[in-house]
Symmetry: C2
Subunit: 476 residues, 2 copies
């Protein structure tokens, strides 16, 4: 029974058809389902619990950085979008528009927020009077809508959930520093909570947020070597403060425009962790955000005392803050092993009569399939320590993969060869749009972020002096 894994048979092969593997896994583990409207998703409880864990972890980090949560309206007057020229150009083609409400045609169409710089900027302009009101730091957890042609659950959907932080500062320096700081918060979160290594850096003009002075992003390498943009932090300069009149009276009594920045991550992060850690058997959940961290599977469950011992263990683990499920269903242990493996639960505990007698339990890791015996007595502490090791090991494994798959090239052909091999390609770039477009055309790769370590002095495309070393990759 344990050998014949019907669950694995249900999902496509991860190496030969990664796209189908992804679809199979997200549907069969009940993370998500397709919504009735094209491009929308339903986030099912097993998927939503990941999001709640992500929210909790971020909320703590944002609060430590001075952020307060607030909520701004879903609907934005179309006229707001047009106040910042680049912004409307970037987002107008993707907005969903409300033209009728309450049985009447609206005087002005309203758009469903694709992002909230414009409406939050309008409110900040009203609330900000003096330098004493600065800095302003707020965060919002919300749904946003961007009408997309090609969609995939979590990765690209017309509606998605996200957080967007929006800040105003009196000076350029502070706003720029905050942009970097929140990017660093994202990268630390990715490492600690998702066991996901990322590259961080500045985006090119082509890839930046519509309306930003500069966008910084974090990019993660998926199982197939493609990149997934997993979070962005934008320095907006005075572009939005001038468009929305966010002014303050400075200490010297003069009126000045503030400097703003914004940053966001979305339910895309769920797609990122699936495609970073998943394997042939299905999901592999990073312990910090796993909806279920430990599953207890009773062995010979009908034997006296087994279920009772499992319940006691479950209660002790729960009391210690571990998210644990006892699978006391009628299915066979083998069936349960395979199901919980597909769902990616980090640790599986097997507990049967012989273990009970010996005062022990058997614990199997999802990340490397290692089995460890541990004493029942110290289970809570040992399990917590083991969860930590699982997370660290998952991170190291992903980091090693990423590091071995970063190659440096100095020609268009080299870039093509690199990305064809499932790599991120470091290459010098002169800074011009034409060369960036050529890489896209020739290698179907885009500039993900610039490398802080600018070693490549010549543009891989045109051979002229380079202004940056860029990570090129195919991307989701």
């Amino acid at each position: 029974m344990a050998n014949k894994n019907q669950f694995v048979e249900q999902i496509a092969d991860i190496e030969t058809d990664f796209a189908q593997w992804y679809t199979d896994v997200v549907l069969k583990t009940k993370l998500v389902d397709y919504g009735p409207v094209k491009g929308t998703m339903v986030i099912r409880p097993y998927g939503y619990a990941i999001w709640e864990n992500i929210q909790r972890e971020f909320d703590r980090r944002f609060r430590e950085n001075g952020y307060e949560n607030a909520y701004f309206p879903l609907l934005i007057p179309m006229g707001f979008m047009t106040k910042e020229a680049e912004h409307v150009e970037g987002f107008a083609p993707e907005v969903a528009v409300v033209t009728h409400a309450g049985g009447e045609k609206l005087a002005e169409p309203l758009c469903i927020r694709p992002t909230s710089e414009t409406i939050i900027g309008t409110m900040y302009a009203k609330w900000t009077e003096s330098w004493r009101d600065l800095p302003v730091r707020m965060n919002q957890w919300a749904n946003v809508m961007r009408w997309e042609k090609t969609t995939r659950p979590f990765l690209r959907t017309s509606e998605f959930l996200w957080q967007e932080g929006h800040s105003v500062f009196a000076s350029e320096e502070e706003a720029e520093e905050e942009t970097q700081k929140m990017l660093a918060v994202y990268a630390e979160f990715a490492k600690t909570c998702l066991a996901m290594p990322v590259l961080t850096g500045k985006k090119t003009e082509k890839e930046k947020f519509a309306g930003a002075v500069a966008t910084y992003g974090m990019e993660a390498m998926m199982h197939d070597g493609k990149s997934l943009q997993s979070g962005t932090s934008h320095y907006l300069g005075q572009n939005f403060s001038k468009a929305f009149n966010i002014k303050f009276t400075d200490k010297d009594g003069t009126q000045k425009f503030g400097y703003t920045m914004s940053f966001g991550v979305s339910t895309r992060l769920i797609g990122a962790l699936i495609m970073t850690h998943g394997d042939a058997r299905g999901l592999v959940m990073p312990p910090v955000v796993a909806p279920v961290q430990v599953v207890i599977v009773p062995i010979a469950a009908k034997r006296e005392g087994v279920i009772e011992a499992c319940v006691r263990l479950k209660d002790r683990l729960t009391a210690a803050g571990v998210r644990v499920v006892l699978d006391d269903s009628d299915n066979s242990p083998g069936w349960k092993f395979n199901e919980w493996e597909m769902k990616g639960v980090p640790l599986r505990i097997e507990l049967g009569p012989r273990d009970l007698e010996a005062g022990k339990l058997l614990c199997a890791r999802r990340d490397n399939f290692e089995k460890t015996e541990m004493s029942l007595e110290n289970a809570a502490e040992e399990i917590q320590a083991l969860l930590k090791r699982v997370s660290e090991n998952m991170y190291e494994k992903a980091r090693e993969r990423m590091n071995t798959r970063i190659v440096t090239k100095d020609s268009l052909e080299g870039i093509l060869e690199g990305v064809n091999g499932g790599n991120f390609v470091r290459a010098g770039w002169c800074g011009c749009r034409a060369c960036e477009d050529k890489v896209k055309e020739f290698a179907q790769a885009t500039a993900r972020v610039m490398d802080g370590d600018h070693t490549e002095k010549v543009c891989a495309v045109c051979g002229k002096k380079s202004s940056a070393t860029v990570f090129f990759a195919r991307a989701y």
Copy 2:
């Protein structure tokens, strides 16, 4: 300074102009602001923190009752709404409609969810196959939209935040029992977390949810004697399961339609707590959901050791799980007292050089203005106990007010006199719509809920045999 209260001067008199008092208080304490689109609100950090506390308390209760959180799409195809005849009739006039998206006109208009029975029902139909899949219990925290003509922050806004629970059962009995159970969860929450007494009971046909077999509601009495519907639980029978094809194969092998129910509370609860507890000086926050439970105001803050002692006290209270703010701003103590009073913080601690010498602190209650001395050493425990007493006292005070303002009447004139006096009026009712409409016309009062204690045997309007004793009131 402490006598000249500039804060109280900013807000209208609660007894003579309650409507203006409400508007003044919610704006000046920065709970909320008006959004740019008519009828929308911006929930500012001080208001949103209340909502987060409400969410946390409910999430625990829902989980204990078997609910899991999920997220369903914002946009619902118009055709879904029309599948349940009563439902579309009730909600169609209020929906906001998306007609264009991604730069194109949509083939079918989409409505922004006014509630999610139709879209959740569609998914449940897909997921529910066997009796083994039942019961299904899910909850969603989301924004919804109902286009309203007359709006007021928190009480009635075109967009609001809420939770909606949706369940499917195999039998009528289970679904009805769940409807009552979740209503009881609401009432317990109102008492424990909002210190708010409520009346619960069945709604009349006229007042029930569009598409429900029966709606049960909880109603709270506001400062002015008007009623605020604060939560509803709907028994939906097979109305939605038949409209959306939510079927399951029962143990006997036959296909049956499920029985569904739903329940919801919204950001309206914030309006409810404001209008239940507020007084001439502003907000009075119930401790369990108060964003700030304790404010520490240093006295003679520049004297040696005062600020340090305040910081130590703050850290100890925080470690004990108390939400505490140390106001070390440059404002005078009197200014601070008044500001935090308007913001309704349950407890204020004053700590100065003399207190420090004596190892004591002075604590002032917001609910009854009593001042207590307590030893600095035991502050954490004493403060926690005091917060509990504040909550209980607020509840008792509100309950007493409600109880003394419930009168029983046996005529239309009596009902008018009763509601004119700011009362809830108990009266017999024959059960016919005509008599209910007459009460509305003559006394501008509506049937809030039916009293489980059916003592009035004659209809107060027509004099015929009554079928229920109803609480009539003017309502928000």
